[in-house]
């Protein structure tokens, strides 16, 4: 084990003096959720009325300090795993990188526009899989010609049609795994500077997980950065060479995957 650590150390020292191109810089990020109407029933008519009469601002705005001072820098070509227990702030962190949550303090700098793939990131459920592919690609900024050209490869990659003609059915009729596969296939059709995957691959079957791993590697080679949140430590091990461990909104450890996941599994905080 010590040998392995020495090896990785050697590797890193070899490239130590090459400057790398950063893609995501998190600088002392704090994220605070403001929950309106916690406790007192917001929906009840009487409480809403009494609030209006007494001119009190919303009852008890509760604050949830979900991320507390996380800093890290991710570089081109890296696949970074994010691990931590439930409610530790992983999804929050990804949403903030994607620009969907404001930072209360600190800042996140990114290159280009990060794309976030979440567990239940529905696209257009009442439209067919086919429409979703076309519209998703157009929304990402592809031209109609590019979409026509890539359409078949996206459908093939998703494997939606392996069990019959499902691509022409509305997406609401898909199983959760099928939906996740199609969404990933659409998002992965474009080269992203930063791709954020929040447990979106967890429902995929064995074959699809292999394919998506291969695609993530390709994306990294195309000089992108991939963030992967997963509770499947093996998936993290196989996909990411770097892992960040978050607990209670704080960064516990940031290092090589082997090291971080080993300690995470043992519950050994450094």
């Amino acid at each position: 084990m010590a040998d392995a650590a020495i090896d990785t150390l050697k590797e890193t020292t070899a490239v130590d003096n090459q400057a790398r191109v950063p893609t995501v810089v998190a600088d002392d990020v704090h994220i605070i959720y403001k929950v309106h109407g916690a406790g007192a029933g917001k929906g009840s008519a009487t409480s809403a009325l009494s609030r209006m009469i007494t001119r009190k601002k919303s009852p008890a705005i509760r604050e949830v300090h979900a991320v507390r001072g996380i800093s890290f820098t991710a570089y081109k070509g890296e696949a970074v795993g994010l691990i931590g227990s439930n409610g530790s702030g992983k999804s929050t962190m990804l949403a903030a990188i994607a620009g969907l949550l404001p930072t209360a303090r600190g800042a996140i700098y990114t290159n280009g526009q990060p794309s976030l793939l979440g567990v239940n990131a529905a696209l257009m459920n009442d439209l067919t899989g086919e429409r979703n592919v076309v519209l998703g690609c157009l929304a990402m900024g592809m031209s109609p010609a590019q979409v026509r050209e890539r359409y078949q490869s996206i459908v093939d990659f998703s494997g939606i049609n392996e069990k019959g003609d499902f691509i022409s059915l509305p997406m609401r009729t898909y199983s959760s795994g099928m939906g996740a596969r199609l969404r990933f296939s659409i998002a992965a059709a474009k080269t992203h500077d930063v791709l954020l995957i929040d447990e979106a691959l967890a429902t995929g079957d064995q074959g699809f997980q292999q394919r998506s791993k291969a695609r993530i590697n390709e994306l990294r080679k195309e000089a992108g950065t991939v963030f992967l949140v997963s509770h499947d430590n093996n998936a993290i091990r196989e996909t990411c060479e770097r892992t960040i461990w978050i607990e209670h909104g704080e960064l516990i450890m940031d290092g090589h995957t082997d090291e971080v996941v080993r300690r995470y599994e043992k519950g050994e905080r450094p």
Binding site: R20, D126, H256
Partner: protein
Amino acid sequence: MSTLSDPVNLSAPRGADAGLTPKQLADKYGLSVSGKRPSLPKYIRQLWARRAFISSFATARLVAQYTTAKLGQLWQVLTPLLNCAVFYLVFGVIMKSRDGVPVYIAWLCVGVFVFQFSQSAIQAGTRSISDNLGLIRALHFPRAALPIAFTVIQLQQLLISMVVLVAIVLANDIKPAMTWLLIVPALVLQSLFNTGLAMVMARVGAKTSDISQLMPFLLRTWMYVSGVMYSVSGYIKSWPTIWQTVYSWNPATVYMDLMRYAFMPDSFDKAKYPGGYDAAGHQLPTALNLPHHIWIMAGTWAIVAFVIGFVFFWKSEEEYGRG
């Protein structure tokens, strides 16, 4: 524990960049604050690049709208027709509004269809962000594409209804005239106006969901004061001139009048419809009145609403999808 496990800092910049603070590093490589709203010209360029998305999205939505209904696409034509039928019964027959208006059925249908266009564009705009959070969170595109696409859907819907409208107009012995060409510019201006309103309401609706409960009442009030089903000109005649002028600027009335003039210019002919009462005391139809400068009014509303709506929507671009 091995001493080597003190982790190598994978975050620290290396080589020439060593020692830079995160902020300096971000600046050096031109990284920008995540989720920052693009400048207005850049935003317009991005939006223009998504024009294929807007039109495909609108078409797909329009087709999907009625897929669960048995009669399917037929509802696109049936809904406005049924609306017209109800209004005709209540306002035309029972309340006798039809007496004072030349060719009441055509007059009513044009009004209903034109008002419906604005009304549904505003309603769809209000929900365009809040109903599509999944799409907004998963993919990156200028959010204004959504309220615009929903207005395009309503425009497509109106164009389909137009076929019915033409049939109704022809059935009422109105001959096609050169003024029919005015339908196109009138629709363009109204579409711009509607898009502007849809964008304003999209931003408002994204923040406060209460507004979508309130909208039907506001829109219904607007409909009743705009003279969709009965002519308001008789009621406001006694008002002070200043209030008549203000009233004439009501955009709904402006766009309805334009379209009514385009479809049936004869109804505006005072020689043909002098008004008054016949020997038996029945009210005779009075010629409609087209305000001077109506095109200027229509154009002003279109440009003001569109520009204000667009800027207002853009101002909050980074916040859609949050919360």
